[in-house]
Every structure is written in C-alpha cells, then in structure tokens.
C-alpha cells in the first residue's frame, strides 16, 4: 500500500486494514495529524472538547502483579503498602464534590487480602455521595473472579448491583501476549482483558480502552492492539473512548527512555484513523504535559481527559504534570474549541447539555442491565446484613405512601401485615427506610419523608431523589403523598382534607431534577398530579367524615422556617390556596421517574397573617394554630392509616392510562434515555 493509497482510503471514508494502517507511520507528522483531524471533524463536526471533573482514587497499592513498567505498586508484605481507610476516602469524596466532580476513577492493585465485599462496599459508599464510580480495570475484575471462584459475569453483576457505573480501560497495555509476557507476565492475558470488556458491554456497562506504548512493543503490535479493540467494538459498541499514553520509565524495572512527543502524536493520529468505530479519543496530559496535550487536539483527540484531583501511578515514575480545571478550560479555549464538562460515560454536564450527547456517545442504546427487580437497587451500602426479601415473597409493592415522621408505625399499630424494611442504595445518596406492608392482598410501601424519629430531616434536607429512586427500585408505580400544609385560602380550615390540583413553585431548595445539566427534564406539567389517582381518591373520600376540598393550588416553599406575612399575601395574590414545604420538588422529581403521583393534604393551620393570632413562644407553630384547631388536626392524623387503607384498593386498582408512565418518552425516542430506567443514571 503506497502512502497515497492510504490517504485516498481515508479521504474516501473507507476502513483501514492492517497493511494500510502500518503504512500510516511512513507519513510525516503533519500529514498524519491533518488526516486524523479530518476524521475527528467527521466524527465531531462541532468544535467542542470535553473533559471530566473527577478524582483518581487508588484504594490500595498492594499488588501481586509485579509489572515491570510500574513504579506505584508494593508487593504484599513490603513496606509502604496501604489500603485506603474510610475517613480518608470520605475526605477525598467530599473534596471531589466540592470541586464539582461527577465521579471517581477507582483503581487499585491486585490485593489478595481484600474480599469481594470490600469492593461492593467501596462502590456503594462512593455512590452514596452521588458520585459515579468509573472503577476496576479488567485485570482487577479478572483477579476478583480468580480469587472468589465466581465468573467474570457474576463479579460484574455484583459490582453493577453495588452501583458500578462504568469500567476504565486500564491494564490493556499492549493487547499482544508476546508483549504482555515480557512486561506483565502475571497480569490477565489480552484475551482475558477483551473478554472482561465484552462481558461488561453485554451487561450494559460502558468502558474506555487504553494503550500504553513506547516500551518493548513494535508498531505492528500497536496496530494489533487497535485492531482487536476495533473488532470488539464492532460487536458490542460499548467503548466510549480510547486513551493512548506513553510508558514512563522512571522508577520502573523496565527502564529505558520515554517515547517522545512526535511518537505520541503520530500514535494518537493513527489511533483516530484506525479506530473508526470509537466515538472519542482522549489526550494524555498526565504523560505529555499541557502543551503537547493541547496540540494533540489537532491530532484526532476530542477529549481532554480528567482534572484528576489526585494521580498516584504516573506520579510514582517522577512525572508530575498538574492541571486545574480552569487551566484545562483555558487550554481548550486557547486552541479554538469550546470546553464542555462531561461525566464518566461522556454525557455533557452543565449548560447546553442537549446537543452533543447523541453524537458523542455511540448511537446504540444501552442494553438493559442484567439486574432484575430488587437486585438493581439493593445491597452494596449495608453489605450482607441488609434485609432482602427472599425470592418467594417478592410481589413488589406498586403503591407507596410518603408521609410524616414514623408513619409506618400507624400501620404496625393497626396490625397490618408487615413484610419488612428495605433500604435500597441509590445513585443519589441514602434513602429513608422503606417499610412494606400487605393489606387485603395489596402490597404497599411506606416511607417517612422527615425521618422516623422527631423531625430529623427538615424539609429542605429531604433527599427526595434518593427516596423516589428507592421506591421506584422496589417496583413502585404510584405514590400518594400525605402532607400537612397551612391554608392561605380561609375556606380550607385546619383539619380539612385537600387534594391539590396545581402547584406554584416558590422554593429555592435542593436538587430539583434527576438530570442536572443533562438536558432531560424539559417536560410539561399539566396536570401536575396524576389525574387517575386524584380521581380515585376524590371518589373514595366522598363519604369521609373530614371535609374534602377537591381543587387547590399548593404553594411550595423552601423551609424550614415558616413564611412571612408578606409572602403569604403574595401567594394569595398569585392564587395560592395552601402553603407547604414538602410537595416541591418531590412531585416534579416523581414525574421525572414516570411515577403516578397525587397528594392528599390535611390542613394544619392558617398561614401567617390569614388570621390574627398572637405569638406564643414554645409551642408548635408558636400560636399560629389555636388549641381547637390543633385538636381537629390530631383527629385527622389519627385517621391517617384508616384513610390510606380505605384508599388502597382504589389506588392499586387504577389503570395507568394517564400520561404519567410516559413523561420522558421524548428522551427515549431520541435515544437519550434507555428503555430500562435504571440505565438513566450512571
């Protein structure tokens, strides 16, 4: 193949075979770069360069692999070995969140002292901070499988259940067994590496792929590496990005001199040209430094990699480039591109997130994960001790009640059959416990919004996303929110029931979407509350001893403080009937998860200034409610469980012919969101 022929093939957009690819190395660096840039612009016409804010956490440096190119590891028993302790981990995670991070790149040595539960707990712990876990390269997975006697698929399924979001492409080195025998004889073989990745892709995990070059390998062996990756990608489309980097000889057994910038840039360009089915190519500023990394954006790369708040492995060779997020953005911008933050699966974060996602990631939708039912949400955090229903009594609750403190005790007190407590782990932090009951053949779940004792979690600090995620993970489809607002509308007296039909969001509180910065969630809210559920509860409560108002505008405020007189006057002018701190953003979040959601309110007081009430220090509402009103409220509260049990057949029996179950349909059709909702949150 002459050099002109290979250029022709590239210009014509045809796939390169091994012979073509080998002849690429005969081209001068500028021609090669310009060809790679041409292909980069075909794949990503927009002048955008992405980067991720994350932290590298190496949970242990103890490793049995003993690779000759590594200056980071310690053999078991050697001085200087460590396993990261929980306090340090917590500190690192908090710092990552503070830096605007979306995830953790979690990797470590092959440490025989750590059981599988260690890894599961680690993942659950990190997910509890709302961070993605891009963790465990194939050698680690392979090692875990050997250690435990489980299959790679089982290990991956366990880790996915624990919350693993994606797999980093490390440990690929050169996917040629000749090279691997020479530099890392104890590490998984090329075939094993590819098998782990293929299995991960089959389970719905996205992964990256790396190549460490510039040691013993030939250029033909680099191409073998690229071809093997391209073949697997043809079958699975599970690779998000390719990241080539140069071997750093400092402090390693292999030694030698590092490949220069020219060789790096040429290899990067060849990779862009050969890996025609890889959506993204990442620069390696850690090994190349800021200047060459920036220039690499013209050699086929479209991603600047990670801010890497901490990097230990390359640093152990004495190469310590450091870049802040601001510096990364400056470098990207100075090269004439627009810089956009992404997460670990290459979805954009922040403003303008809608456009690029589809072209950034592979167009093939995520296959559903292998976990079913409870398994998807359960486990991880609490380790083995968390109660899980055994397979034979798993008819999952379709209905959930989100209610006041300790609401489940009302059902326990009435002797309703108790099916146990669930604490599903969620990508959004810790959910409150979910109590499952069975009444007249209907299973239902009860969750106390503000905690189960006292009023531990005041309104602005309720983790609505975790609570709703947990319920959805249990199989819940319909939610009845029980809440206790104040009345702006004088007709709605304390002790009355109200089924609000609309919402005025006057809150400034916490996370109000499941899709921050991702573009999804731009959805219509009319009717705000599920019409089917509302209809059911209005009909069923027609003969209730408590007066029922069937229309009301609920004004959501932030709390925990009560409103000022002026605020209440404002809300009245705006048409508000009730004011409270619980339904917003809960209702909107529930709708993002396509849950049917309706609220049943019981008025607990007149809102500030509606009635002239003297200030009474030391009592609930400080005098806003009279003793007679409090008494009527107590009656309704006492009837809570009866009201729910009365509504239950109606709630459970309602057909879901409302729009609620397809609220995110547009994003499904667009390919932004998969059919399986669990794949929506990495």
């Amino acid at each position: 193949m002459s050099r002109l022929k290979v250029i022709d093939r590239i210009l014509e957009g045809r796939r390169l075979d091994a012979t073509d690819a080998l002849s690429l190395w005969d081209l001068d660096v500028l021609t090669l770069g310009r060809l790679a840039d041409l292909v980069r612009r075909r794949v990503h016409p927009e002048p955008v360069v992405t980067y991720v804010v994350d932290r590298n956490i190496n949970y242990t440096n103890i490793c049995t692999s003993g690779c000759k190119f590594c200056a980071f590891y310690r053999a078991p028993g050697d001085p200087g070995g460590y396993v990261l302790d929980l306090d340090s981990l917590r500190q690192k995670l908090a710092e990552t969140l503070a830096a605007g991070g979306t995830g953790i790149l979690l990797q470590g040595g092959l440490n025989p002292a750590l059981p599988l539960e260690f890894y599961e707990n680690l993942v659950g712990f990190i997910r509890g901070f709302g961070l993605q876990v891009h963790g465990f390269s194939p050698p680690e997975i392979s090692f875990l499988a050997r250690q435990t006697g489980l299959s790679v698929e089982d290990i991956l399924a366990r880790l996915i259940t624990a919350g693993l979001s994606s797999i980093p492409g490390g440990g690929a080195e050169i996917l040629s067994d000749r090279v691997r025998r020479a530099i890392s004889p104890n590490k998984c073989t090329a075939g094993e590496w590819l098998q782990v990745m293929g299995t991960a892709h089959g389970l719905g995990l996205k992964t990256t792929a790396t190549m460490m070059f510039g040691h013993l390998e030939t250029r033909a062996e680099r191409l073998e590496h690229l071809m093997r990756l391209r073949d697997l990608q043809d079958r699975t489309a599970g690779f998000t990005a390719f990241i080539p980097w140069t071997f750093q000889p400092g402090g390693t057994a292999l030694g030698g001199k590092p490949a220069g910038a020219l060789e790096y840039l040429k290899t990067l360009a060849v990779s862009r040209l050969v890996l025609d089915n890889f959506p993204n190519l990442q620069v390696s500023w850690v090994t190349q430094g800021a200047k060459i990394a920036q220039v690499a954006l013209q050699f086929g790369a479209n991603d600047f990699g990670s801010t890497m708040l901490e990097e230990n492995v390359v640093a152990a060779t004495g190469v310590t480039f450091r870049l802040s997020r601001e510096e990364i953005v400056r470098l990207i911008t100075a090269a004439g591109y627009s810089a956009q933050q992404r997460d670990h699966v290459y979805r954009l974060v922040g403003e303008g997130g809608q456009g690029l996602t589809a072209s950034c990631c592979s167009s093939k939708p995520l296959p559903p994960t292998s976990c079913r039912g409870l398994g998807a949400g359960c486990g991880g955090r609490e380790g083995r001790s968390s109660p899980r229903p055994s397979p034979h009594n798993t008819s999952f609750p379709k209905v959930a009640i989100i209610a006041r403190v300790g609401a489940h005790r009302d059902f326990l007190a009435r002797g309703v059959e108790y099916r146990g407590e669930q604490r599903p782990s969620t990508p959004f932090g810790e959910a409150n416990p979910v109590h499952v009951f069975l009444h007249d053949g209907v299973e239902f779940a009860v969750l106390s919004r503000h905690g189960e004792e006292g009023y531990r979690v005041s309104a602005p600090f309720v983790n609505d996303r975790a609570n709703l995620y947990a319920l959805k993970a249990l199989g819940v489809e319909k939610i009845l929110a029980w809440c206790a607002p104040g009345a702006i509308n004088e007709a709605m007296a304390p002790g009355n029931l109200v089924a609000p039909h609309d919402v005025l969001d006057e809150g400034k509180g916490g996370p109000h979407t499941f899709f921050p910065g991702r573009g999804q969630g731009f959805i219509r809210h009319n009717p705000v509350f599920c019409p089917g559920l509302r209809q059911a509860l209005i009909e069923r409560l027609a003969d209730s001893p408590f007066k029922l108002h069937t229309k009301a505008v609920y004004v959501g405020t932030t709390g925990p403080r009560l409103e000022t007189p002026a605020e209440i006057r404002k809300f009245a002018v705006l048409g508000g009937d009730l004011v409270g701190q619980t339904l917003v953003p809960e209702v909107f979040l529930a709708r993002e998860l396509e849950l049917c959601y309706a609220a049943l309110c019981y008025v607990v007081n007149f809102a500030e200034g509606v009635k002239d009430r003297p200030y009474e220090p030391g009592v609930l509402f400080e005098g806003l409610a009279t003793a007679a009103e409090v008494e009527r409220v107590r009656e309704v509260e006492a009837a809570f469980a009866d009201i729910v049990l009365k509504l239950l057949p109606e709630l459970a029996g309602t057909e879901r012919d409302c729009p609620c179950s397809r609220l995110m349909e547009r994003y499904r059709r667009r390919g932004d969101l998969g059919e399986d909702w669990r794949t929506w949150f990495p």
């Binding site: 310009r34 001199k257 220069g260 910038a261 020219l262 060789e263 800021a290 220039v295 100075a334």
Partner: protein, 365 residues
C-alpha cells in the same frame, strides 16, 4: 488525492498559493495565520518554507551560557531575573569568577559562549572588554555571542562612546556576534506599559544594524504571550523584516515565550502549545529573509521543541547548562539536555541533526 492544499481553515488556501509562488506575505496574511484555528495547516505552510531552506536538517549548538550579573536599572515588568543592586538575590560575577566558570568546562567541546546580563549601573566598560579578552585567552577558538542591543546601548553610555565605536572596541576584544534579546515587542503601547526605561525599538534596531555594518551578525527575538495583540506581533515581525532587507545581518529569529511566574505580570497565564507552535510557524512564513528560526527548547520544553521542527523551526539551540533567566521565571524544563538526548529528540522527529557553530557552519563530528 492529497491533502496538501486542503485546509481545515479555507482562509489558508490563498496563503498556500503565495507560499508556493514564493511571494512575500503581507500584514493581513500574518493576521490570518495567527487567527487561524488550523494549527496543522499553518504548520504545513511553515514546513514547506523550512524544507525549502534547510531540507531535513535540524541544527543544534554546544554552548555555554553565562549570565554575568542580574543587576539591572531597567525594571521591566516581564522580567524575573533583573534585580536592583541592593535587592536580595542581586549578584555580579567578578572577572575571576567568570574565568573559573570558563575553566571548569574547558574539557567540553563548547563552540560558543553566550553572554547576557542586566544593565549594571556601576561596572566599568573595561569589565566587559576584560571579560571578552579573558575568555578568549582561555578558549581562543570559541565564538563569543555577547550583549544584547540593549546592553550595547548601555555600555556605549558607560563608555561615553558611540554605539559604533563601542561595538568596534568590543569586537576587537573578541566579540563575535550579538544575541537577539531585548527586542520584546516593538509596539510603543507595550513598551510604555512594560518596559518604559528600555532602549526604544528604533534604538534596538539601530544597534543591530550598526553591528551588521561592522560585520557582526545578530539575532532577533520577540517576547510573546503577555499583553501584546496579534496585530502587534505581526507588526514586530514586519519591522524586523524591513530592517533585514536593509542590512541583512540577522541570522536567527527566536520567539521567546513569556513565563509569568515571579514577574510583575504573575497574574497572566503562560503560553500554550498552540501559541508556541503558531508563533514559530508564522515567524517562518513572515520572515522570508531570515535564514533561521530557533525553537529555544529551554523556553518551551523539549517535547514541544521537537515538534517545532515540523512547524518552521530549524534550530533547537543546544546543550544549555546553567541557564538562569527563564528558570527564575519558573520554567519547568530541565536545566540541561545531553547531546545523546538532543540527537534522539531530533532523529525521532525525522530530522538529521547537524551540530553547528554560531554562524551555522557544520561542526564535523
């Protein structure tokens, strides 16, 4: 099909035509090149010119740097090296100390001593003459590239002589050529802001042109990456090109990347790889009458210097030991590269290394 004339930035196509026809590029062309996002396209154009002039050759030199004093009356805002005489860290080498530095490296095959310092208010003109004579006595064959145009003007003041007479006296004492420092950016706006006390652009060019007329070659520099605009960069290059048309004594153009650390402009960011490469490439294209473009590896790092050989540069300086000016401004590059490292770097870039003397004569290995 080829991609030679196909540019990601179509604005480069007319410039490509001019380069092929060997036409001089104008100010607008310079701006188009600087503003282009197509770094590789600009690099390709510069590479055409570079190959036309030097083929595959990449020059390097085995030299010794000597910064005899950092005491300086100028106080330029972009400088981390200069100190007032009474400031901590201020130093001046005695002639004995200088000779000791020369002696300790007499066993090395050094072909050039590169001498630059501050504008010292008190050292007499004889100090400079004795310095050159003393070094020549120790190393008779060595080429002395010493004293920027700014220093020369200062020495003329101290000596009470004209620039021409000052240069003649120094030449007689052993001066071989002038380094290119002190040009900064010629824009009066920039000089008023950053280095108001420094020799004016016309003064700087006059010293160089006087040197040329006396048979002394000089280099030229541009300090970029601080407050200057792209227009000011292009104007700087065009002014150098015009001076070169007149006297023809400039050997090499050396863009100097501004290093903000420890300067009065520390709030600025350093230059990026794009900027460094673009600047070399634009210089190669605009300075059609300059024989050489140097990528000073100590300024931009060995990795970028290697790449610069594809972006218009034909010279990557040399094995620099004890370079102080840039390192005081926070340059992260190593203090010296061995000859083996240098040769590897050049060969990996696909070039043929040529060790040169100051005047670009090849030194047989």
């Amino acid at each position: 099909m080829t991609i030679n004339g196909c540019f990601a930035d179509p604005k480069l196509a007319p410039i490509y035509e001019k380069v092929i026809r060997r036409e001089r590029l104008d100010r607008d062309d310079g701006l188009t090149l600087y503003r282009s996002r197509d770094l590789l396209g600009v690099g390709y154009l510069a590479d055409l010119v570079r190959r036309r002039l030097h083929g595959n050759k990449a020059y390097y030199i085995y030299n010794q740097h000597l910064n005899y004093s950092n005491v300086c009356v100028n106080g330029c805002k972009f400088c981390a090296f200069g100190k007032k005489a009474d400031e901590p860290g201020a130093y001046e080498m005695t002639l004995e100390e200088i000779m000791a530095r020369i002696r300790e490296r007499l066993h090395e095959p050094i072909s050039e001593i590169h001498i630059v310092g501050g504008l010292h208010p008190d050292l007499p003109f004889s100090y400079y003459l004795d310095m050159l004579r003393g070094i020549k006595a120790l190393r008779p064959g060595v080429h002395l590239q010493a004293f920027t145009a700014v220093e020369i003007a200062h020495l003329a003041d101290i000596a009470g002589l004209s620039v021409a007479k000052t240069l003649s006296a120094l030449k007689e004492a052993g001066l071989g050529s002038l380094p290119g420092g002190g040009a900064e950016v010629f824009s009066p706006r920039i000089r008023g802001e950053l280095c108001p006390k420094k020799l004016s652009p016309s003064g700087w060019l006059a010293v160089c042109q006087t040197a040329h007329r006396l048979g002394l070659n000089t280099n030229a520099t541009m300090l970029y990456g601080h407050l200057e605009t792209l227009e000011e960069r292009v104007d700087h290059l065009i002014r150098l090109r015009e001076a070169q048309d007149e006297t023809g004594g400039f050997l090499t153009f050396i863009p100097l990347a501004f290093h903000p650390e420890n300067t009065q402009l520390a709030e600025l960011s350093g230059t990026t790889g794009f900027d460094d490469l673009k600047n070399l490439a634009v210089a190669r294209l605009m300075l059609d009458n300059f024989p050489h473009i140097k990528a000073f590896w100590i300024m931009i790092g060995p990795k970028l210097a290697q790449l610069s050989l594809s972006f218009g540069a034909d010279d990557i300086d040399g094995t620099v030991i004890e370079e102080r000016i840039t390192h005081m401004a926070g340059a992260q590059t190593p203090q010296g590269l061995s000859r083996a490292q240098l040769l590897h770097m050049i060969r990996e870039a696909g070039c043929e290394p040529v060790e040169r003397d100051t005047l670009y004569n090849a030194i047989p290995s």
